[in-house]
Amino acid sequence: MALFRQTTWLLWKDLLLEMRRRESLVSMFFFAALLLFLFHFAFEFSTERAAEMAPGLLWLASIFTGTLGLTQLFQAERENHCLEALLLSPVDRGALYLSKFAFHLLLMCLMELFTFPLFGVLFNLDFWRLLPSLGLFAFVGTVGFCVLGTLFSAVTLKARARELLLPLILFPLMIPVILATIRGMEIILRTGELEEALPWLRLLIGFDVIFLTAAFLIFEWVIEA
């Protein structure tokens, strides 16, 4: 249907831009790696402690890196009146939201695919067997982050001090996602199984569904303003 096609067009446009200039992805990679380095200097810990703190540190690194990416999310549209042009065209506003959401989700997932193993290497963690379940949690959590992040990136588009305002607004709203993802990953690392962590996973999925719907509906008012 039209919405799906428009979303894929817009997503392809962003991917093409990113593949040519590679500014967002590479900086996000390096920023995440830098954060992991800093964490190692900041916290002196043994391997056991590293396992305890891994979910928190990993997820915080993801969130901070993702927030940086969000401030750049609509950057291409701000230049050369692209946004006005897009809005003048008959493209569905929802498609614009979905394509930006999908684009940022992709960037963050790629960044996490790189960061998680790096963390394991840097902190001598033996969690390779558990990476799929950890990855599942991280993915669902990242979806939650991108859902609201994309919406509020558009909301703060023309605000002053937007690099500060965006995290200020986003982080309190993100608390269910942060708590659920970190607790879930912690349970997986501790027990080795997904079983006990399922309530948290359900919370995350609920969050994703509710806010994907809400943001999709609200986005058109935000971007038109």
Binding site: V155, L165, I175, W200, L203, I218, A225
Partner: protein, 234 residues
């Protein structure tokens, strides 16, 4: 002019009633109600704390309703209401945190603890603050109203999820400790204490609506001023 006189009168009556109940509430809370069997005199802070938190949540609900109405009908009044409720909401949420902290010090021995209630109140405070920051940092008025409405709606929808996640976090992982369990203060309550609580609830509600109406009036007058400056008339 007559309409404005009438509005002023309603507000003054509300203010007078609020003052009456506040004073009455002070008397029952500090003098008449007996001290708690376990907590002693410090329990009297609850006559501030419970009404404050309830009023804070009410405020958030009003922000939500105002935001929904504004997104739907685009009438400036609804946005003025939402903004006013956010400001008064920040006030009462901040007070709730301070009261909770002061109550916690003699009761638990610490000024702050990450128990579910205090944490939730702190998160609510942060969301309110982010709303006010958003409004003040967006220069275009119309856009500011719109974006504020989005935050008001999303924030409210998020509250049940924040509640759930914070409560699970605290109950699943809190080891047994000397800290008091999260018991609702209105269980096992003596009737005269219930009365004191009820009176203070009414007092806070009246006070809140009085402050809200003042702040709302301020918002409307500012709008009128802007209209006159821009268009030379209402």
């Amino acid at each position: 002019m007559a309409q404005i006189e009438q509005k002023g009168l309603g507000r003054r009556i509300l203010g007078g009633l609020a003052l009456l109940f506040v004073l009455l509430g002070l008397y029952v809370a500090l003098v008449q109600a007996p001290p708690d069997a376990y907590q002693g005199e410090v329990q009297r802070i609850m006559y501030l704390h419970i009404p404050s938190i309830l009023v804070a949540y009410l405020s958030f609900f009003i922000v939500f309703v105002g935001s929904c109405l504004f997104l739907w009908k685009r009438e400036k009044r609804d946005d003025t209401l939402a903004y006013a409720a956010a400001e008064t909401g920040v006030l009462f949420t901040g007070l709730t945190i301070v009261e909770g902290s002061i109550w916690g010090r003699p009761t638990w021995g610490v000024w702050w603890t990450w128990d579910a209630r205090l944490t939730l109140t702190a998160i609510l405070f942060l969301i309110f603050v982010s709303y006010l920051m958003l409004r003040s940092l967006i220069e275009d008025e119309e856009r500011g109203a719109l974006c504020g409405a989005v935050l008001g709606i999303i924030g409210f929808l998020d509250i049940p999820l924040i509640h759930m996640s914070v409560y699970w976090w605290r109950t699943l992982h809190q080891p047994p400790s000397i800290l008091r369990p999260d018991k609702a203060p209105w269980e096992n309550i003596h009737p005269s204490m219930l009365l004191a609580l009820a009176i203070n609830l009414v007092a806070f509600a009246l006070l809140y609506f009085y402050l809200l109406s003042l702040r709302f009036r301020l918002g409307e007058m500012r709008e009128e001023l802007k209209r006159i400056k821009l268009y030379g008339g209402p």
